[in-house]
Subunit: 353 residues, 2 copies
């Protein structure tokens, strides 16, 4: 395995896509080596890679992987087109909620439709360049989200975050954690409270790991602590990422975000959502139209191979919930901060692009 010195969510080397297997973090750093798009789709489905921006980037690379598969077979243009169509469908189906997956695949398809007539080799190379551009732009967007979000974070702020909207969920730097990183870089003192985020513990495993890595003071809590922390006056603001934002501002994010939003409103604490424009879905009128993925019961009933619930208990395990726009104080994007997001403001945001 070629492991780079910095921890990358994914990287391309010698004709292969390497995907950090985040299921093994924080204790093991291993990369999945993918030479087939199906391996990439599996990595997304099984959440080796997760986080809406990161799975968008990964899917784009998955399309390049598919093109190189066909190139290796020295096959025809017709075969390439049908194989890429199949790959796009399969990658799209890997996770249903994050809109960045659809966004990245549409961008790849647009590139393909604009570049008909190229050789197989040039198409494969072009798709790889396009995936790399999506990756690079996401990182740049996160840095802008950080800069834009900074203004919302007072010095000595105590910030609660949920799940992992960090470097590992994106092309790097992070959305919610990007805002925190940028505030710290500006010299502000920030203390982060990290919800462990059941069932998959992205808070304990990934956000805690990122905060320790960057020497940002942080305290890990169970998801059950959030209300008590707010009541004790220990939380000044909440910042989270997003998986799918409807055009009225309603936001799907990791299960538990809606509970936090209600708690925040009741304690008069602002909740901010940090996300790139690629997470905003202008085609979708409102949150109730967002498809919420339900995942397997074992995520709740087991830790590794160790069962923690009796056999036969029924489980409901939605991966996301929807927070209505009215509970979101502001949406932090690479193009600016949108207070009290609504349809008009989101249309305007895209008109500026």
């Amino acid at each position: 395995m070629n492991q780079p010195e910095r921890l990358y969510t994914l990287y391309w080397k010698d004709g292969r896509l390497y995907i950090l297997d985040q299921r093994l973090l924080p204790h093991r750093v291993e990369y999945l080596s993918c030479t087939r798009y199906r391996e990439v789709a599996d990595a997304i489905r099984e959440m080796a890679v997760r986080g809406a921006p990161a799975i968008g980037i990964t899917a784009a690379f998955g399309m390049a992987v598919a093109a190189y598969e066909v190139l290796a077979e020295e096959n025809t243009q017709a075969r390439l087109r049908s194989y890429l169509a199949e790959a796009s469908r399969e990658l799209f189906k890997a996770r249903p909620t994050a809109v960045n997956l659809a966004w990245a695949l549409e961008r790849i398809e647009k590139w393909l439709s604009e570049n008909e007539g190229l050789s197989l080799k040039d198409i494969a190379a072009g798709l790889l360049r396009e995936a790399e551009a999506i990756y690079r732009e996401d990182l740049e967007n996160n840095r802008m989200i950080g800069i834009n979000g900074c203004a919302l974070i007072p010095d000595r702020a105590s910030v609660l975050t949920h799940c992992n909207a960090g470097a590992l969920a994106t092309g790097g730097y992070g959305t919610a954690l990007g805002v925190i990183r940028a505030s710290v870089a500006e010299g502000k003192k920030v203390h982060v409270y990290i919800d462990e985020t059941r069932p998959l513990l992205q808070g304990s495993r990934l956000t805690a790991f990122e905060m320790l890595h960057d020497d940002i003071p942080a305290t890990l809590v169970t998801d059950n602590c959030a209300g008590s922390l707010m009541k004790q006056g220990k939380i000044d603001l909440i910042v989270v990422g997003a998986d799918h934002i409807a055009r009225n501002g309603d936001t799907a994010n990791k299960i538990g975000t809606y509970s936090l939003a209600v708690l925040a409103a009741s304690h008069n604490i602002p909740l901010y959502v940090a996300a790139p424009l690629s997470t905003i879905d202008l085609a979708l009128p409102a949150g109730e139209d967002i498809i919420i993925e339900e995942r397997k019961p074992e995520e709740v009933t087991c830790f590794g191979n160790q069962a923690v619930a009796p056999d036969g208990i029924e489980v409901y395990n939605p991966a996301f919930d929807v927070t209505p726009a009215k509970l979101i104080k502001a949406l932090i994007t690479e193009k600016g901060v949108i207070y009290n997001p609504d349809q008009e403001k989101l249309y305007k945001l895209f008109a500026k692009v």
Copy 2:
């Protein structure tokens, strides 16, 4: 090991106290055999036995165990008195929040002060009888709580509960789960949503186990699901137990209960607290005076021996939070249902006893 056919939280046999080790449930049924009060205090401290009523009962038996220790040494009355005083102090210190522990030890001390001059043997036998009376009365109280609470549970109700306020948390039958059991016994259809209850998963491990055992339809969810379930209209009411109720009705219960109470209020869903009078502390004016136990970080960072968070991350792990009385629709006790509990109503409740 003498294991009875029914699953008892604890039982006395042949001069020993057997305590069900609930840390091993639902997959292993093992009893700790105790012949020294320190073993009993350890079982409470390490949460082999948990649940406010159950640890009160256990502490009472712990005092009988201490008396039999002295009796076995054929020792003096003076030694008995000093040893029992020491045992009472140690048992009291085992957990700081549940008031039932203090309540049961005070009752034992009252019995002792009323029975001075008895032989060592009669004192030991008398303490055992008193502990057995506390045990039996708790079971009877739970049955009355169930009968009284029934009226609050509509037919076809969908009920959310948190932690385990069941047979395993009490002398049997349960407080919150007693209300559910009594409703089912009356012929009502009830569906229970069970919060898994991090960090120690009393919901997954114990409440799920009790519901399966009694064939009561139930669905296990992560604590993060509660808000989403309420928003979807899937929850008609919430019923929980309690660890310490101040005389104004403010209630300490398992961490996460306060979050549920705020969510319930915001969705116009009633929250009921089911608890015996032994959990109500008339000496305590309000919730802010309740001591909240903080437990070790490993409860959050590890599952068994498996670490799930990076080394060095700071953890805040309170075992309880306090729900203000104004968020509690009613308190369900063995002496009746108290709507909108407050100091005047709780004083009156005790005046009736």
